[in-house]
Symmetry: C2
Subunit: 337 residues, 2 copies
């Protein structure tokens, strides 16, 4: 910037005023303005964000903390966030917590120190209360996406897990299923809500939750595979399996095939997320699709448009979006036994 000033023969402060483009309290001659702009262009001048940030200006950085980037659903969500951020001129700093909350805390510190203008959290990190604590006592806005809609003093954008699971189970019941099992991951955020919704839905149709019908496994195909193996060892085998996640459902489909079961004739399977591969599994997966773009847009909007008044957290919006049931070929009428 100094070079630009020298080249145009004006002072560096004038250059700053011209290039910032902001409405200045002091007027600038159009002539000077033009000279500065062209000079800046020829010199290939780019402002230094560090110096900008040092003065307390917005850094145009959006921090993202994600629990597990290898989950295809979160990968899609990250893409949506970075797309949305780019549209608003923001850049994305990604922190990966690897599912370990201590790392998430460290990341948090880093992101705060780097003066992100805002932070998006992808997935629930509430298994470590310290992180949530830290998050609350800060000045930058934070919004949690897909952390479940529990009230914890953090703004959030969530999906209506209860409605989603209810739709799935209604669908299965319509097909004649009553012995419906559930495969969940760690009891966190969305997963927890989906489990509770499953319990509520079973109660609503007057069906007991049989022993072993609630499986807890890791959130990957291997987990789904193990879960189905355990379910098939039960005396009363389920006729349908509701997986809390598409990747788990993939493992269920795999194990069913490995055991010689035909889906959906012998077993119906459902997922949650509608990851890209869900339309290409064998058979294709009945699942719940969330309006990712809309949800991300809402979250980023809240963050950037300053809808989060720090003085009054109770007034923060906590939008909840409805998932859509996508019926494919992994669910079908119950087989005559």
């Amino acid at each position: 910037m100094r070079d630009v000033a020298r080249l145009t023969g004006v002072s560096q402060s004038t250059v700053s005023r011209v290039l910032s483009g902001a409405p200045t309290a002091v007027p600038i001659a159009d002539d000077t303005r033009e000279r500065v702009v062209t000079a800046a262009r020829t010199l290939g001048y780019r402002p230094n964000p560090l110096a900008r940030g040092l003065r307390g200006m917005p850094t145009m950085l959006l921090g993202v903390i994600v629990r597990d980037i290898t989950d295809p659903f979160f990968a899609g969500a990250i893409e949506a966030v970075s797309l949305e951020a780019a549209q608003r001129g923001y850049n994305v700093v990604l922190g990966h917590a690897h599912g370990r909350a201590d790392e998430a805390i460290a990341l948090w510190g880093v992101l705060e120190a780097r003066h992100c203008d805002a932070i998006v959290m992808l997935g629930d990190m509430s298994d470590q209360p310290r992180l949530v604590e830290d998050l609350r006592g800060t000045h930058i806005p934070v919004v949690a996406l897909w952390e479940g809609s529990k009230p914890d003093g953090i703004a959030s954008v969530s999906v209506d897990n209860e409605a989603g699971i209810r739709a799935v189970i209604d669908h299965l019941v319509e097909l004649g299923h009553r012995r419906i099992a559930f495969v969940g991951g760690r009891r966190l955020g969305d997963i927890r809500e989906r489990e509770e919704a499953y319990l509520a839905a079973l109660a609503a149709i007057g069906e007991p939750v049989r022993d072993g019908y609630l499986q807890y496994v890791s959130n990957d195909p291997a987990g789904g595979s193990q879960a189905l193996a355990a379910l098939l060892d039960l005396a009363e085998r389920p006729t349908a399996v509701v997986a809390s996640t598409d990747v788990i459902a993939m493992g269920v489909l795999f194990e069913a095939n490995a055991r010689g079961l035909t889906v959906p004739d012998d077993l119906s399977v459902t997922g949650f997320d509608d990851i890209p591969l869900a339309a290409f599994s064998i058979p294709t997966l009945t699942t719940l699709r969330m309006p990712i773009r809309e949800m991300v847009g809402a979250a980023v909007g809240m963050l950037i448009d300053g809808q989060l008044n720090p003085a009054d957290p109770s007034a923060w919006p906590r939008p909840i979006f409805a998932p859509a049931l996508v019926i494919r070929t992994s669910t079908g009428p119950i087989a005559r036994t």
Copy 2:
């Protein structure tokens, strides 16, 4: 830092010297040192990276530009990079190019302006020469991962695509296959090398490349599905399909099943990448596994340990790693026709 200085009664410069931990030219009394450290701790002081960077210090930021984050393979690679970076005390800034090189260029500018200490590029961006141009004329070190091993003035860490494809085709030939088709994506980087390796391998076994045996599709399951559909319409159907990517192979498996073909009895299918889901497809996928951790480790090492002497690009290391053939159940002996 000013507060720390006030609390301990020493000057701010002393505090800086103590907390930076760097070997100072001037000695510091242990007593003072201790007082400063404890004061800093009680005040919860954290250095401001912006101010640090402004002084020209390393920012401990590692920039990552990825072509397509929704590809599970790249997601895994990102995880590996962020893990490796974290171990060395670096943080990761992620830029997502969405496959569009103009965005990649913009990202490049951003990352450079943000004073990343180094940049990792994931996947080949060479379809836009301008980006490569920009990359060469800069002062921060850049390493390209999985861009193919072409010489373009950028340091790179690559996989031996030729050896991988050769291993796959040798495996298929051993099983009796001769009519082997190839499904690739856009002719970029690794994909291009894999295609060339396929052509070379066919030539080596004295097999012609039949019309239509070279399919170009998008790098997703839908692409694989379309490709197989086209291949099955040929007069001389292939008995084996080599996909350039696991996600494409997933689509091939799907389409085969949809058309009533049994894999591997009617058709053998192979992939490349060994994504997590490859072990849980139906049937499980024969593919090539790359030493992701080692490759990422090599790349980050080159970047951070200063092995990239700007004065002599010809001396830059360009390590090439060998992929390992993982034989699963999607390949089998050719069916008697």
